[in-house]
């Protein structure tokens, strides 16, 4: 199913800050289950993810996932982030600190002033079980280990059933020892969820373990790409 999905993205934008002007123009097409953007820090990888998620203003180009257009600046289509159904796992996870693990997962399934539908709770329960978070469902994020936080962030992004999953440096918030261990664990989790995924990393080992195709980015531009079979 996910092997059939295609992402077709071309995003261009200029970031202006007092100290630097930075232009990003990245185009990519992929029908791999998981695609990685690889590049040094400061290459604009995270910016690309935010542009795809709809979090940045003034993005030109297009974002299509499985034939659904989320952005097409030439045709005046620019869905707001809340309507894109693009799950984003932030580099340091951005878990809501005042909500428990379970409430973090419920967040995207509940609307303001309405009770959580029974179906949604079933989905939350299933995700808690799938990601081994049952035992910490009432815990606040600050009481979790690094690995648990990562799983909560992933489960929270998956809860509203996004059409595309974005992972921003999924392993960089972890210390080196844990990182090696969680690399394979994350790869297995991503295998199980079967969701078209775009991830960014500066670490070749991460990219090798997690993605089937790789796109290299430097200074906001694509400089090369490769598709390799995922390691067994």
């Amino acid at each position: 199913m996910s092997a059939m999905s295609t992402i077709d993205i071309q995003v261009a934008l200029a970031l202006n800050s007092p100290d630097r002007r930075f232009e990003v123009d990245v185009a990519l097409r992929s029908s791999s289950a998981r695609t990685a953007l690889l590049g040094p820090s400061g290459a604009g990888k995270s910016t690309v993810l935010q542009a795809i998620a709809g979090l940045l203003p003034g993005v030109h180009g297009h974002v299509r996932v499985d034939g659904t257009t989320l952005l097409d600046s030439a045709r005046g289509i620019d869905l707001p982030a809340r309507e894109r159904r693009v799950g984003l796992v932030f580099q340091d996870y951005a878990l809501f600190p005042h909500l428990s693990v379970e409430q973090n997962l419920q967040y995207g399934l509940r609307r303001l002033g309405r009770p959580l539908p029974a179906q949604a709770q079933e989905r939350v329960d299933a995700l808690l079980a799938q990601f081994g978070l049952d035992g910490v469902r009432k815990a606040l994020p600050r009481h979790l280990s690094g690995g648990q936080r990562q799983r909560v962030a992933l489960a929270r992004a998956l809860a509203p059933q996004p059409r595309l999953l974005l992972l921003d440096e999924p392993l960089s918030a972890l210390d080196p020892e844990l990182r090696t261990r969680l690399r394979d664990e994350l790869a297995q989790m991503l295998d199980r969820v079967q969701m078209p995924t775009l991830l960014v990393s500066h670490d070749l080992a991460d990219v090798r373990a997690l993605a089937q195709s790789v796109i290299r980015i430097e200074h906001g531009r694509v400089v090369g790409s490769a598709t390799a079979p995922a390691p067994a």
Partner: protein, 226 residues
């Protein structure tokens, strides 16, 4: 020696609590709204607007009182309209005392709310948007709960400031015993009339209440850091 609790003390005390509570509520709504709005935007002239909003904190209360008299008085731009539409008269009424306290208290809650909202990591809102949240949802489910301690401290300070409001209240609401005479105005009157036991009792009441509020505000702020 402080005197016993008599109607002469209870009346200003109850009126003060009523005025301070209402003023804190109104200043709270506007201060939180404005603080949130200012925390999320950057525009030309923002510093000037911020200065205007904080101005009541540094202007002499009599100057504020005078502005309010000019604004809501019978010949002011707002006075006749308020009376025609809402039937409220603000000069020499307890509602006028609420207005004075609201204006004086507003900067405290506005500044606290703005700082508290600016402290909330913007990535939480971004994460919420990717999870389907509207801006209204982001405010009620994330920004407000995450800023609650800073805002709570600001509200406690605002309430304390409103309890002690004197100058602007005296200008706008006057000093009518039983109608517009708040604690701080009653203390002034008692001293003028040579009624030291009354003045002392009221002074102790105000001091105790304000200490309580400041302790509350400190606790809220300490939790926020912890």
């Amino acid at each position: 020696m402080p005197g016993p609790l008599t109607p002469a003390m209870l009346q200003p005390l109850l009126l003060t609590l009523q005025v301070a509570l209402l003023a804190t509520l109104i200043a709270g709504v506007f201060g939180i709204g404005m603080g949130h709005w200012m925390a999320r935007r950057r525009f030309a002239g923002q510093d000037v607007l911020d200065a205007v909003l904080v101005l009541p904190m540094v202007l002499p209360p009599t100057v504020l009182g005078y502005y309010l008299i000019v604004l809501v008085g019978r010949n002011g731009p707002l006075g006749p309209w308020l009376e025609a539409v809402f039937g409220i008269r603000l000069l020499f009424t307890w509602q006028g005392a609420v207005l004075a306290s609201t204006v004086v208290g507003f900067p405290l809650v506005y500044k606290a709310a703005r700082a508290a909202f600016e402290d909330v990591d913007p990535r939480f809102a971004q994460a919420a948007r990717t999870l389907g949240s509207s801006e209204r949802e982001v405010f009620w489910r994330l920004s407000l709960p995450l800023a609650r301690r800073g805002i709570g401290a600001g509200l406690a300070l605002t309430f304390a400031r409103c309890m002690g409001e004197f100058g602007a209240t005296l200008m706008v609401a006057g000093n009518l015993p039983g109608r517009t005479q708040t604690l701080s105005v009653a203390i002034y009157s008692a001293v003028q009339a040579g009624d030291d036991p009354l003045a002392l009792t009221l002074t102790l009441i105000v001091s105790a209440l304000c200490i309580l509020l400041l302790v509350m505000a400190n606790r809220l702020l300490r939790h926020r850091q912890g």
